[in-house]
């Protein structure tokens, strides 16, 4: 078999089609890799700039009102760039990489929206994940729609098989050579991009992420090679193979996911934010109006803000906190039921996605890259812990209407993001990886089995 692979390799190296395919593939990977590395470098730069800014603000030698520091400014939680963010934009153009926390009960975790042109989010990124998910399968088909059909038509296959060799070995050699041609760039280039991108991640964790990424890419490739083999084994002409494979690609990479998404939208619609906003408004209305009236009454009783004194300011802070607490309590139920429903729908939706190899692969690739929704959820959870520390430190001071010394400000809790253990990601990836590998192996097995009946 290896002899056939070597021979096939030499044949492929002289084929103009193969060289063109390879050139397109390498160019696409290189361009998307370069874009990714540039993006990652910019993210890293932004992170460093804002980390420095936070440090400078804490070190400023001025006394400030507790309310201003704790709530108006708030604490900044910054998410470092993802370990392999250069390889996949993932959800990072949807979720922002920062959160502001306050010591309030209401608006405790404030996130701005990610600032990105909606057209960019809709068009999707031109990143390595895109090249892997869409172009790689297409090029697998482009190189292997004619494994044996052409040689059979020209009669050379019969000639080869007149020697003491098995058809299966010939086919395996051809398959292996083609797989290697494409696997080379698709493994090496992303690894090179990851290696040159400076990210604040432990090398071991980074290595494991890259290994899982690569395994996912190879398993995904195996599925498409398997599909190509099965189609080839049916014994059609090369042109028919090409058409059937183009249709297969369309079905599995484009129409499948798009139809599954349509199904998800129809069967498991996400709860409506609009309805939730109306509900929240209704739930908090009484508390909000009542709170506003209490605050208004207070201000009415203390006409000039200049001389209400420390006690007056304490009273005001207490009134404000009471209103916030009441509103937050009423809001909690609405938010909780919304979140629960959202989670349930997403859970259900994720079941439908196992039907598409592109969807399964996308899940593993983004998870390995660190730009999946999972990492943003982990960040949010970490920011929520930070918020509790922030509130514990500042709430008494705000209620006391205290003025903070520089030392007080410097001693305030600071956010430090701890990456979720990479082993957790590996465990999540294990099942989909195994499923993809199994599907690839099954298709390859089926292909070879069908080749037994291949009519010369």
């Amino acid at each position: 078999m290896m002899a056939f692979a070597r021979h096939e390799w030499r044949v492929l190296a002289r084929s103009r089609v193969t060289l063109a395919v390879l050139a397109v593939f390498v160019a696409a990977l290189a361009i998307s890799g370069w874009l990714g590395a540039t993006r990652a470098a910019r993210e890293q730069h932004t992170l460093e700039r804002f980390e420095q800014r936070v440090a400078e603000q804490r070190a400023r030698p001025v006394s400030l009102r507790a309310e201003a520091v704790a709530n108006e400014k708030g604490g900044l939680a910054l998410l470092p760039p993802a370990p392999l963010g250069a390889l996949a934009v993932g959800q990072s153009d949807v979720y922002p990489g920062y959160l502001t926390v306050t010591a309030r009960r209401l608006d405790a975790l404030v996130s701005g929206d990610q600032v990105e042109h909606p057209l960019a989010v809709a068009s999707g990124p031109f990143d390595i994940a895109f090249v892997v998910l869409f172009l790689y399968p297409l090029l697998i088909f482009a190189t292997s729609f004619d494994l044996t059909a052409g040689e059979r038509e020209r009669g050379t296959l019969r000639m080869v098989l007149s020697h003491p060799v098995r058809l299966a070995d010939v086919v395996a050699g051809k398959l292996l050579a083609r797989a290697l041609v494409l696997a080379g760039p698709v493994v090496i280039l992303p690894a090179a991009v990851a290696a040159v991108t400076p990210v604040p991640a432990a090398p071991a964790a980074l290595g494991l992420s890259l290994v899982i990424w690569t395994l996912a890419v190879l398993a995904y490739g195996a599925i498409w090679h398997g599909l190509a083999l099965v189609v080839n084994a049916r014994g059609w002409r090369a042109a028919t193979n090409a058409l059937v494979l183009a249709g297969t690609w369309l079905l599995f990479a484009v129409v499948g996911p798009a139809t599954i998404n349509l199904g998800i939208a129809a069967v498991y619609p996400m709860p409506s934010r609009v309805a939730a906003a109306v509900e929240a408004r209704a739930a908090t209305e009484a508390a909000s109006v009542q709170g506003s009236q209490a605050l208004g009454q207070f201000l009415q009783d203390h006409p000039t803000s200049a001389n209400i004194g420390q006690d007056g300011m304490r009273q005001f802070a207490a009134l404000q906190a009471a209103r916030d607490r009441q509103m937050a309590e009423r809001l909690a139920a609405v938010t909780a039921s919304f979140e629960a429903q959202l989670q349930r729908q997403q859970q259900l939706a994720s079941w439908l996605s196992v039907l598409s190899p592109a969807m399964v692969a996308q899940g593993v690739l983004l998870d390995a890259a660190g730009t999946s929704t999972t990492r943003f959820e982990h960040f949010r959870a970490a920011a929520a812990v930070f918020q509790r520390e922030w509130a514990a430190y500042f709430e008494p001071r705000v209620l006391d209407a205290a003025t903070l010394t520089p030392a007080d400000v410097a001693a305030a809790p600071a956010f430090r993001y701890a990456e979720a253990p990479v082993s957790a990601m590996a465990r999540r990836a294990a099942a989909p990886l195994a499923a993809m590998a199994l599907a690839g192996a099954a298709l390859l097995w089926l292909g070879f089995r069908l080749y037994r009946g291949y009519a010369l």
């Binding site: 874009l35 990489g97 909606p118 999707g124 031109f126 506003s292």
Partner: protein, 475 residues
């Protein structure tokens, strides 16, 4: 005489090709699948659209009731109480949801702060949603061209390979008639699928038409149909041109599939990548920080009041303004400054978006699909220009609301800002939020480049087909 013979020959070719295609089981499968997909996308689109549109309209009504019934309070407290405005959903979003899933669905309008529309549906969607959604527009602009390719790639290359091209031309059929016949032959079987699909779509749209007669549904829908038809026309001409030039039908197929892939999948992200290299977006935190930094340089509330007091003592204000209104003056001034700040930053961001979109749109000249998609979104009322129009309307509404509430404070002449309570009569003076999407003519004018690009592609591809057939090898 010769012309008529040629025409009838062309018709005969068309009928023969169409019949062959129709009898081909593979075509019936593919066309049937396309029909099912379009029907599913239509059903999904219409039901989702009408549900969301009703939700938003109901929410706007509920919000209005809440605003009116909130009881007596200080006008400035009412400004803090704020108002939600929900983005009205356009009826043609059922055909092309466009950017709707990627932009916020409502804005909260309040004193001192201005926000971008929040809660883009994509944030709540399953991550796999990023791989695309089947909509009638994607079916028409992505899947349909593929069927067109399948029907045209062999038109000339196939006849040539089978050696039937020379006898065909020997019959005295002019090459142009042959081209016309082949084009018609490819489009007739397609029409058998597309005309019913269009009728179903039109019926569904009509059944779910909005109650508001101001919504220009028909012109927009017809425009959408014209764009999809023109786009399919471009691909028919391209398919025939490539088929006439290609050495073999296999080569024709490969070239056309590569063109299709580049148009449907590579160009949108690639064009946006170029646009963002040219005009990088700020990150969310940079955008927020720029606003916060500027606010930091402003005087505190107490300092502001003090300064107004000084100006009052300097005799800056007219005598009718009571001294106790100093806080009101400070409030109005700070409000104006805040509005100007947010307007400037948001305008800067939207202008940047616009420049990015302009580059994206210019890149659309490289292929027919990008301009067609931009036009389809624009006509459906779901593109970035419509989003900006809504954001601008929301911002204007906020200014109007604050102006009414603040004017009332200023006119009260009360001792201090908070010593003044108003009720429903004042809340009623703030009109309900009313947003009309831009007129269809305006929409087309905004996307003139895409109109031009698609027209150029239609003319160019047709000319290319005529030329390719006129100069094609017969054997």
């Amino acid at each position: 005489m010769r012309g008529r013979a040629s025409r009838s020959a062309a018709l005969a070719i068309a009928v023969k090709d169409a019949t062959e295609t129709w009898r081909d089981g593979r075509f019936r499968w593919a066309a049937g699948l396309l029909f099912v997909l379009v029907a599913a996308a239509l059903a999904g689109g219409v039901s989702h659209q009408s549900q969301v549109a009703r939700q938003h309209a109901d929410a706007q009504q509920a919000e209005r009731d809440v605003w009116l019934d909130k009881g007596d309070m200080n006008p400035h407290a009412a400004a803090h109480y704020g108002a939600f405005v929900f983005k009205p959903v356009q009826p043609l979003a059922a055909i092309d949801p466009g950017l709707d899933p990627f932009v916020g669905v409502f804005v909260f309008l309040e004193a001192h702060k201005q926000q971008l529309a929040r809660h883009r549906p994509i944030e709540d969607a399953a991550p796999t949603r990023r791989l695309g959604l089947l909509t009638p527009a994607t079916a028409a602009l992505v899947l349909l061209p593929l069927l067109v390719i399948a029907l045209t790639f062999a038109s000339f290359a196939g006849e040539r390979e089978q050696g039937t091209l020379r006898p065909l031309l020997a019959l005295g059929v002019s090459r142009r008639s042959l081209l016309a016949g082949k084009a018609l032959g490819a489009l007739l079987p397609l029409a058998a699928v597309l005309v019913p699909a269009t009728l179903v779509g039109a019926g569904l749209l009509y059944a779910h038409r909005p109650a508001d007669p101001d919504v220009a549904l028909a012109p927009r829908a017809l425009g959408l149909l014209a764009v999809c038809t023109a786009h399919a026309g471009v691909w028919t001409a391209l398919g025939l041109a490539v088929s006439a030039r290609a050495r073999t039908q296999g080569a024709a197929l490969v070239v056309l599939l590569a063109l299709w892939f580049a148009n449907a999948f590579v160009m949108p992200p690639a064009a946006m990548a170029v646009a963002r290299l040219w005009e990088p977006s700020p990150s969310a935190i940079e955008f927020a920080a720029a606003i916060a930094d500027e606010k930091d340089t402003w005087p505190t509330w107490d300092a502001r009041v003090e300064r107004v007091q000084e100006r009052f003592l300097d005799g800056e204000f007219e005598s009718t303004l009571a001294p106790a209104n100093i806080e009101v003056v400070a409030l109005l001034e700070s409000e104006a400054q805040e509005t100007a700040l947010y307007d400037r930053h948001f305008r800067g961001l939207f202008d940047r978006y616009e420049r990015q979109a302009a580059i994206y749109e210019r890149a659309g000249l490289a292929g027919p699909t990008l301009p067609a998609r931009l036009l389809s979104m624009a006509l459906a009322g779901t593109d970035h220009a419509h989003d900006r129009a809504f954001a601008a309307a929301a911002s204007r509404y906020r200014t109007a609301m604050l102006t009414i509430l603040n004017r009332e404070l200023a006119a009260s002449g009360r001792l201090n800002t908070f010593d003044y309570v108003r009720g429903r009569d004042l809340w009623e003076q703030v009109p309900p939020f009313d947003y009309d999407a831009p007129r269809p003519a305006e929409v087309v004018r905004q996307r003139w480049w895409s109109v031009l690009a698609l027209a150029a592609w239609l003319a160019g591809a047709t000319a290319a087909a005529v030329w390719a057939v006129a100069t094609m090898r017969v054997e």
